[in-house]
């Protein structure tokens, strides 16, 4: 992070709202040797989100900011980034709740950078696929569309929390094991393994346990809990992982 360039636009529509200094990490691995921060002064209202502020920059000051976004309502999982030091969803973080005059946005850690704030997700997609994220039971049952499998509301409660995962990757970005271990399956995939194991319609527990019982599998989680603290959807991967490990340790049936 060497160079800092500053742009302040005088033409921003004057409004009664306050302003913040938005610092955006710019880095294109294909062309730059190192990243740098660009700084912009941006007006905001009490409901302005960090994503809106970034898009404001993209609209008015620097069209080239590379950032991934889609739903702008915290359901698609596109806009994870490091905001003031912590992994968060840009569209789900209001500037007003950061309590700071400076907002610094950087690409998520533990994901390779494509450019600026956009990172590669291949590893997360692969680990997610690896834990068999679908119901496992007799194929003829799965492919019949006659009647539903009965499942009580209480049985739904057993896994619905984990089904809320939007694959944003914030947990993987916060986890201390992910910080150094390139082969770790990661909290996102482990929580999904539990999501399907806990589903009363599923019969694939053993095959999933086998997959995650690996030298870079579930055992590399040390219950540091950071995954759960950054998760924007209340998935609580740390809980899922420990419950899952309970099966392997024989604490649970």
């Amino acid at each position: 992070m060497t160079q800092v360039s500053r742009i302040t636009d005088e033409q921003t529509p004057t409004s009664t709202s306050s302003t913040i200094l938005l610092r955006i990490s710019k880095f294109n691995p294909e062309h730059d040797d190192s990243g740098r921060f660009m700084e912009f002064t941006i007006p905001y209202e009490k409901w302005t989100t960090v994503l809106e502020a970034i898009l404001d920059v993209k609209k008015h000051f620097d069209h080239s900011v590379a950032v991934r976004y889609s739903c702008r309502q915290a359901t698609c999982g596109s806009c994870g980034m490091i905001i003031n030091g912590k992994p968060r969803l840009a569209c789900f973080t209001k500037i007003s709740e950061l309590n700071s005059n400076v907002v610094t946005v950087e690409p998520m850690n533990n994901f390779p950078i494509i450019r600026d704030l956009a990172v590669k997700f291949e590893r997360l997609f692969n680990t997610h696929q690896k834990i068999k994220p679908y119901l496992i039971r007799d194929d003829s049952e799965l492919e019949s569309d006659e009647k539903e499998f009965l499942q009580s509301p209480e049985e739904v409660e057993q896994y619905i929390q984990f089904a809320n995962c939007i694959k944003c990757g914030l947990c993987n970005s916060a986890c201390p094991t992910m910080a150094t271990d390139s082969s770790f399956v990661g909290p996102q995939a482990l929580a999904q393994a539990y999501r399907y194991v806990a589903d009363s319609r599923d019969k694939g527990k053993d095959s999933r346990l086998k997959i995650i019982d690996d030298s870079h599998g579930i055992w590399r989680c040390h219950f540091a809990g950071s995954c759960s603290q950054v998760c924007p959807k209340g998935v609580d991967p740390a809980m899922g992982i420990q419950l899952l490990r309970g099966y392997l340790l024989g604490f649970r049936g």
């Binding site: 294109n28 008015h60 956009a118 006659e146 509301p153 739904v156 939007i166």
Partner: protein, 570 residues
């Protein structure tokens, strides 16, 4: 030489329709190579935002019937739906709900363990199958996760498809840009399913994901297909201020009230029989009438609005059944619906129109199908009922997936590859857009365009406004906006944003032209200068074909099987 890859079946778009098609096709044969191409990462498609429900008849033993679902749909459509298509939807849907269940869908349940359903606008039976208030999200997850089982599905995440290549009759491939590297590719294939979703970002106040732009529709249009019924844009009654994020109809389905500034449930004046659960077009018009007649509220941003009251539902019910909107309103508007009233206003929510297809989802080009919101098989006519769209995506996802897979298996491409078409497309986007030399900020043009649509073609329309709107759009188009500041190849969203804008001009024009031509009020298209439905002159679909100067407008008959149009009353 342009880089090239090849699949048997290309699915463009990875929303509910695209993913359902991928599974249907993958099951046709494990040797069939399927490529799912999407301009966002596959699971991030707009469909994840759908909240309220998916319509299907599940409880015939309790009195629901397919027939009633068909009639509700046709009546909701203000009799512009093709009735054979509506019937197909309703007949196919129940199995699909069970199929999703078998693939892991976390449907909300009754105590007995059976799948639960809730009330939704315009239905005579509670038949919106739901999963809390995140039905689209969970359906997307279920389909995406199920897709992971199939080794013959490949995902091209963040590839922007720019055009369809065909030999005049038969499909041959598409061109696309891989965003991460900026490389221009041709993707060859035997068949194509277009599932690029709706185009709601034509409007600035919109419930849609920011990626829901008309580039998919425009691609079909430029390839020679017709856009059908584009003047019918659905405005959902309850978009929350200031963001426009949706407060699901499920909120009213669970018993929420709409209140004006006198504290009255004003829907009693407009649809006493169904109150807040009248179809969306009616509720949206009622809200706008109240506002225009001075019974609205002003939001602190200065926008007129109305109030949605959920307080009487109680904390427990809100948490269990409406947790998602609770999160949204607390976070984005600072209001907990259990304690306070929500500020809402009609918001652009759905495009009834789309690429013209037949009942099987086939388009006018051999080898190309369209499904989901991008397609217009006329199941929704002039007004879609809530919860019928995710149903449509799933049913026609499956139908087109199977048909396109069979076609790919039985057909071999023979004609020589039309290099000149690829070269022309390359020239169009690189010389015409990427290296264009305009000096107007394209983002500001986009803002003006979407604001114009909001002002001139909103819930109530009239000739003057529509014509002004059209003029404004054409003016904007003429300005030399076509330039991309960002010259890097890698992940150039500036480039894709400008390409999206390029498509908006053509599609916005068609929406406005269709609206100008339709001199009647029908469903979502309400004209203050022609307030009645006019079956004598307008009981037909609108078609628009691409032409260099101005779209060519045509009409197309409506299929009526059992239900003759009658006056629509709730």
């Amino acid at each position: 030489m342009v880089e090239s890859i090849e699949f048997d079946l290309i699915i463009c778009g990875s929303g509910l329709a695209g993913l359902r098609a991928a599974i249907a096709a993958a099951k046709k044969g494990s040797h069939l190579k399927i490529g799912v191409v999407s301009k966002v990462q596959v699971m991030r498609s707009h469909s994840v935002s759908a909240e309220g429900g998916t319509a299907a008849v599940l409880f015939e033993e309790e009195g629901d019937t397919i027939e009633s679902h068909v009639y509700d749909t046709v009546k909701g459509s203000d009799f512009l739906a093709d009735q054979d298509v509506a019937e197909r939807l309703c007949v196919e849907m129940p199995q699909e709900i069970h199929q999703l269940d078998h693939w892991g869908m976390p449907w909300s349940r009754r105590p007995s363990g059976r799948i639960d359903q809730r009330n939704f606008g315009g239905y005579s039976f509670p038949r919106a199958t739901y999963a809390s208030d995140k039905v689209g999200f969970f359906e997307m997850q279920t389909l995406y996760d199920t897709c992971q089982k199939f080794e013959n599905i490949e995902y091209l995440n963040e590839w922007f498809v720019t055009s369809i290549i065909h030999d005049g009759k038969k499909f041959m491939g598409v061109t696309a840009i891989e965003l991460s590297s900026g490389t221009f590719y041709t993707i060859k294939g035997k068949s194509l399913i277009i599932a690029t979703g709706g185009a709601g970002r034509l409007y600035s106040f919109s419930t849609y994901a920011l990626s829901s732009t008309p580039d998919g529709l425009d691609m079909g249009l430029r390839a020679g297909m017709a856009l059908k019924d584009m003047e019918f844009v659905q405005f959902h009654p309850t978009g929350i201020l200031p963001s426009g994020i949706l407060i699901t109809e499920g909120a009213r389905g669970e018993g929420g009230y709409l209140l004006n500034n006198k504290g009255e449930r004003f829907m009693k004046t407009y649809a006493a029989g169904k109150m807040e659960l009248a179809p969306r077009d009616i509720v949206s018009r009622s809200i706008m009438t109240e506002i225009l007649e001075g019974r609205g509220f002003k939001h602190e941003t200065g926008v007129d609005c109305m109030k949605l009251d959920l307080r009487h539902l109680g904390d427990e019910k809100i948490k269990e059944k409406l947790g998602g909107i609770r999160e949204i309103s607390i976070k984005f508007s600072g209001i907990d619906p259990a304690d306070d009233l929500l500020d809402i206003r009609p918001v652009c929510h759905y495009m009834m129109g789309g690429l013209h297809t037949n009942i099987d989802g086939a388009t006018e080009i051999q080898g190309v199908w369209a499904a989901g919101e991008a397609a217009c098989n006329s199941v929704h006519g002039s007004n879609r009922l809530g919860a019928n769209s995710t149903s449509e995506c799933i049913v026609w996802g499956k139908i087109t997936g199977e048909l396109a897979a069979e076609y790919a298996i039985n057909n071999t491409s023979s004609n020589p590859w039309p290099h000149h078409l690829v070269a022309a497309e390359e020239k169009r986007i690189y010389d015409g857009i990427f290296r264009g030399n305009g000096d107007v900020n394209p983002y500001e043009i986009r803002q003006q365009l979407t604001d114009t649509m909001n002002e001139k073609a909103y819930v109530y329309r009239n000739e003057t406004n529509l014509i002004e709107g059209l003029k404004k759009i054409r003016e904007l188009k003429k300005q030399t906006w076509k330039h991309v500041d960002d010259k890097a190849k890698e992940y150039n969203t500036n480039f894709s944003n400008v390409m999206e804008l390029d498509s908006m001009f053509r599609v916005a024009e068609i929406v406005l032209l269709g609206a100008i031509n339709r001199k009647e009020s029908r469903g979502a298209h309400a004209r203050t200068d022609y307030t009645k439905r006019d079956d004598a002159n307008f009981l037909h679909h609108t078609l628009a074909y691409y032409d260099l100067n101005e779209p060519i407008m045509k009409t197309h008959p409506v299929t009526i099987t059992k239900y003759q149009p009658v006056e629509r009353k709730y």
